[in-house]
């Protein structure tokens, strides 16, 4: 199968409220930076464009239609959209390149979550007949999951606090992070409980922003003369929707997707995991079998800033950044969707040849 390279990645700062900016205004600066990074003018210079967004974040239908206004899509372009995180837009783009209908693709995701009450809004992605009418919000569901972990002795509150503290410290080196600081697990444990057993720090913040990536065939990456990382494997799997139908303390789909993506074929230097709640990072790193030799969430992960519909793509982008910077040879990126880690995508990235 055709080898596909990542040649560019950009994201906006994760901010709690992007103020007056609309979707187009969130996307334009990120796109202009990535065009500059790759050395192209606009979306006319790639063969395919795919985006990820969710109308309900800002409460207006057809958010992605406005996004097209940021692309320079005159003359018309080959373009598609998923109502999912942009990591799945990347997946669709990978298929497009593999089938030979594109040599390059621009992928972007954006979300403005600040206008609504995100945890409540997301309650409406649950089963509309049985669960959504109860308005079970995402934090409550995650709290139940954490409670199961604690009660079974799989984790301790200190383990969770350690995840948060590491995120805050790692985020000190991430210019786009929303939450950062030189804090310890003891500092976190001293915080009051928010939604038992979760503290506020166990939950990712609500952020506005966008991210973008350019991928292409390895031949094209060489022609462009840009440093690149190779997507050596990518797979995703969804599980049962009903939280009572699966073991919430494990992530079977993450493990299987990683196997399918060939993660086990070599050492993993770095992992970026989409864990909106601290205990979920522990579930994921165990499902992936990550040990001490893997640097987990060096960006701070989404606990440091969560660009809904773009954070998954950002995990892949963060691994790409570390590989092209020479900090890692091989890495794994994970994305999730749905309540309590229902749907998971795993991408394995390898260092490309020197351009």
């Amino acid at each position: 199968m055709k080898e596909i390279a990542i040649v560019g990645y950009q994201q906006s700062d994760a901010v709690s409220d992007a103020g007056a900016q609309n979707e187009v205004e969130l996307i334009i600066p990120v796109l202009s930076r990535i065009f500059e990074q790759v050395g192209i003018t606009n979306a006319q210079d790639v063969d395919f464009v795919c985006s990820g967004s969710c109308d309900y974040l800002q409460g207006a239908a057809f958010a992605f239609v406005l996004g097209v206004d940021a692309l320079g899509a005159v003359p018309p372009i080959k373009e598609s959209h998923v109502e999912m995180d942009a990591a799945w837009a990347l997946y669709e783009s990978v298929l497009k390149i593999r089938m030979g209908h594109a040599d390059s693709a621009l992928v972007y995701g954006f979300g403005k979550s600040s206008p609504g009450e995100l945890p409540i809004v997301l309650s409406q992605q649950l089963d509309p007949y049985y669960l959504a009418p109860q308005w079970v919000d995402t934090i409550s569901l995650a709290a139940m999951q954490a409670r199961m972990m604690l009660d079974r002795g799989l984790i301790t509150e200190r383990d969770m606090a350690e995840v948060v503290a590491r995120s805050r410290r790692n985020a000190l080196d991430n210019p786009h992070a929303q939450l950062k600081g030189d804090v310890t697990a003891d500092d976190i444990l001293a915080e009051e409980t928010y939604l038992s057993p979760l503290r506020r720090s166990d939950c990712c913040p609500i952020s506005d922003g966008a991210s973008a990536m350019v991928i292409c065939t390895v031949e094209k990456a060489k022609a462009w003369g840009k440093p690149y990382a190779v997507i050596s494997g990518i797979d995703h799997i969804i599980e049962s929707h009903n939280p009572g139908m699966r073991d919430l303390t494990d992530s079977v789909s993450t493990r299987k997707a990683a196997e399918n993506a060939g993660m086990g074929k070599g050492k993993v230097d770095v992992a970026e995991l989409y864990a909106p709640f601290s205990h979920q990072e522990l579930i994921l790193s165990r499902a992936l079998g990550l040990g001490d030799d893997t640097n987990i969430n060096p960006s701070g992960g989404v606990l440091a800033g969560n660009l809904m519909m773009a954070s998954g793509l950002s995990r892949i982008g963060e691994v790409f950044n570390r590989i092209v910077a020479g900090d890692a040879e091989r890495g794994v990126a994970h994305t999730t969707s749905g309540p309590c880690l229902q749907h998971n995508l795993v991408a394995v990235l390898d260092k490309g040849e020197v351009a």
Partner: protein, 387 residues
């Protein structure tokens, strides 16, 4: 080059105003089971599911693929959700095809749906936005001025739209799944029907339907072994352009012309009217038939209406290039599914499996969908033969 892929199973629900005997999960599952049965397959034979629907606000469920996982037998498999406005049913079929054409999967299920009875599409489409003049009267209000401009430019007689409305309903009367069953419809009845958005009359508009459509798409190796004739995918294309920009050609959008040229090139079509046997084209308002006849190259600019008036697009009149023998969007409109129904009906024709609305001997067919402000296009060409 893309790997060869084919449609090996097609399933639809019947289309009707209210399917209150099934939930949304029940609706999509019905179409999916019908597609599996048609393909003589079971859930275990499916590698991935690709779901499409129009905006989440129609049913008020955010990312419904999350909840529909279980109904679609997708637990433990990949699930992808496509949304490209009104073209979504077509785009979803194309994304599903790419799963196989890329060599990544052997056999996938694709489903699209809308349950308009559990939603309020008119509200979702004309949801008042602060600061804006609230004059958005849904899709009809948006497209009526564009149709008016087409009529001005082409000098088409006023009854072209009426003729299309009658023709597609007579086609629909031959399709037992079609929502509107109007075998007695006449030009007078359409002309006398209530004017909604001048020049669009009530009977020149699509209905609001509940319904779902599903297809199984398989690799060449598996399609060769299929129990029924496969519909080989001979060309796939998508194009998008912004809703509004200075100088945009709204009547005959460039994105549609480019998309058609791309898909024809792949399928080796030089003269679509001659080379294609049948087309299923997204015509939600009657006047879009002549407009798309020109946009898709079946007629020179300004002359699409002549084909309509000659009966060239009528199966019943024995026209040389029947458009929408299934009755089209004018007979059934489950919005998110409408594009996929076009793609699936094109496949039914080349499988010689379209029942009373079969175009005799059809070998090559076009499936077409558009969305947004006529700015998103998705098309495929399917054939009875591989090449």
């Amino acid at each position: 080059m893309a790997n060869l892929a084919a449609v090996v199973g097609i399933g639809q629900t019947s289309y009707t105003t209210k399917r209150n005997d099934v939930s949304i999960a029940g609706l999509v599952r019905e179409a999916a089971v019908n597609a599996l049965n048609d393909a003589d397959l079971t859930w275990d034979d499916i590698d991935a599911v690709i779901l499409g629907k129009a905006p989440d606000m129609f049913e008020g469920i955010i990312m419904p693929e999350i909840y529909l996982t279980d109904a679609l037998g997708c637990n433990g498999k990949p699930m992808l959700r496509v949304h490209t406005a009104g073209s979504v049913g077509g785009s979803t079929a194309l994304v599903a095809a790419s799963h196989v054409q890329s060599g990544t999967f052997d056999r996938v299920l694709t489903v699209s749906f809308e349950k308009q009875s559990e939603s309020n599409a008119m509200w979702a489409l004309s949801n008042p936005q602060p600061f804006s003049t609230h004059l958005n009267a849904g899709a009809g209000g948006y497209f009526a001025p564009i149709i008016r401009e087409y009529i001005r430019r082409s000098g088409a007689p006023a009854d072209v739209g009426i003729k299309v409305a009658v023709k597609d309903r007579l086609h629909g009367a031959r399709n037992p799944l079609a929502h509107l069953q109007l075998p007695e419809i006449s030009m007078e009845e359409v002309a006398d029907s209530f004017m909604l958005w001048d020049p669009i009359r009530y009977l020149e508009s699509c209905p609001s339907s509940d319904g779902a459509c599903a297809m199984v798409i398989a690799s060449e190796e598996l399609a060769d072994k299929a129990s029924k004739p496969p519909a080989w995918i001979r060309g796939v294309a998508m194009r998008s352009e912004p809703t509004m920009y200075a100088g945009r050609e709204e009547v005959n959008p460039q994105a549609g012309r480019d998309c058609a040229a791309d898909v024809y090139k792949q399928a080796g079509i030089s003269d679509p009217r001659k080379d294609l046997d049948v087309a299923e084209v997204y015509v939600p308002f009657s006047w879009y038939e002549p407009m798309w006849l020109e946009n898709l190259g079946f007629a020179p600019e300004g002359e699409g209406w002549k084909l309509t008036m000659e009966g060239a697009t009528s199966l019943i009149d024995g026209g040389d290039i029947p458009w929408n023998p299934s009755g089209g969007v004018l007979s059934s409109n489950a919005i998110g599914a409408s594009g996929m129904i076009r793609f699936a009906e094109a496949a039914r024709q080349v499988r010689n499996d379209a029942g009373d609305h079969q175009v005799p001997g059809a070998k090559l067919a076009l499936g077409h969908a558009y969305g947004g402000g006529a700015q998103f296009f998705a098309m495929w060409v399917v054939g009875a033969e591989k090449a």
